[in-house]
Amino acid sequence: MKGTLEDRVVQPLPHPLPQMGGGLDPVLLLNCDEQKTNSVLKKEILRFPWSQIESGIKPLSHLGESLSRTLVGRMGVGLNLTIFLFLLFSACRSPYATLVEAPGISPDCVRKFRPTFSSFMYKTEVDVVGNQFNGILVFKTMPDSSRRVVFTSETGPTFFDFEFKQDRFRVVYCLKKLNRKAVIQTLRKNFELLLMQNPGRPAAAVLRDSAHLYFPFVSGKETNYYVTDTLCQNLLRIEKSGRRKTKVTVAMEPFQGGMPENVRIVHRNFTFAIRLTVLNPGNH
């Protein structure tokens, strides 16, 4: 397996276009079908006082400043119409459009990569719109086979405790300031992707490019792609996609005791990344 985990994660796109003269939202232009959801989610993420949650966080004033710089300043003048149209159309083309069918590969092959574990702890770093905070994430399979994901700070307080049981999801506990629908849904989808919890309906055909197999699972308007090598022997990454754009990439390496030792979750439509490093290797 070549390249580091970082290499294999496509970095999040910067918000690439300036506020046009007519007041069009550049994010809205590029993200096509996802713009509405993203807009609501981004508002919620930004509204959340990340700076008050944990250590190492800059004041919110910095946050607003850096965001406005990102959105407005980048390409302030003279955007060529051709470049603009190129960006518009290329952004709206699905990155999966060039994949072809992989005959003879069972869509079920990828299910063997569903994480199985008793208990796993990860050192966790979260980067959200320019702010960082750390903690410990605990994954545990309970006696009733439900799976719990708990995030706690290094110095004490628990932030959230989520329960995944078959197709049900329950917030067992969530710090009041964090308890916002969009934030919870984003975290829920991230963990579901990683844990292969309700990945969706498997598509009829497995797809491939020259180096990978793509196992699509359709979930509402989104498709989750579990990407393996050509022999379906190693799970390399997971991608959540809208109709025309990859929204989330989950890269991982190596699987030990049923879970990957390192995980990097990157959102591509706004700066939100989670890095997990296992704390109890070989002791699950």
Binding site: S55, E125, Q132, V138, G156, T158, K176, L279, N280
Partner: protein, 213 residues
Amino acid sequence: MFREIFTLFLLLLTHSLAAQQPTGFSPVKDEKAFRENFTQAGKKIQTIQSDFTQEKNLSMLEEKIVSKGQFFFKKEKKVRLEYTTPYKYLMIINGDNIMVQDDKKTNKFSAKSNKMFRQINEIIVDCLSGAALGSPNYSVQTFENKTQYALVLTPTSKTLKEFFKNIRVFVDRKDYSVAKVEMNELSGDNTVMHFGRPVLNQIIQDEKFDVKN
């Protein structure tokens, strides 16, 4: 009618107080003397240096996360928490300045802009410096047994109420040094910090609390 409501309120209050009482402890008999002695002892403390073990108990999961490290305190409001296990993590509080460092990043920020962070960390400072009894952030009940006093801090500030049901501080009867701090959360989880082999009033250089590096 008023009398019935008042009686009910008193009953509820008594029940609530009883629920907070640590097992094996009874209310301090001479509370005035205790408060005076505790505050006086706190005033004499200039520095503390101690090993600590922190246990985070995830009650529903029956999981325990154990961290270890060294703790340094120097008046006024200088704290250094140096975690060595399960990984290196350093937090320094120097007045209103805070620095957090792991193996990859260093973050600095001001406690003035971060009320929640400030109040949580003031718990430790307040407990060690004897200021807990006069803090407006919580109401305090005091209990005792043969070897220790227990201070039960119930948050009154909105910020702390969102995190903690109460904070219990166990203090040695002989020298009023803090042996254990137990932070009980609304979720049912708790964090217990045991302070072992505390060394009092030994010189600690200010560099230990430097947040500019």
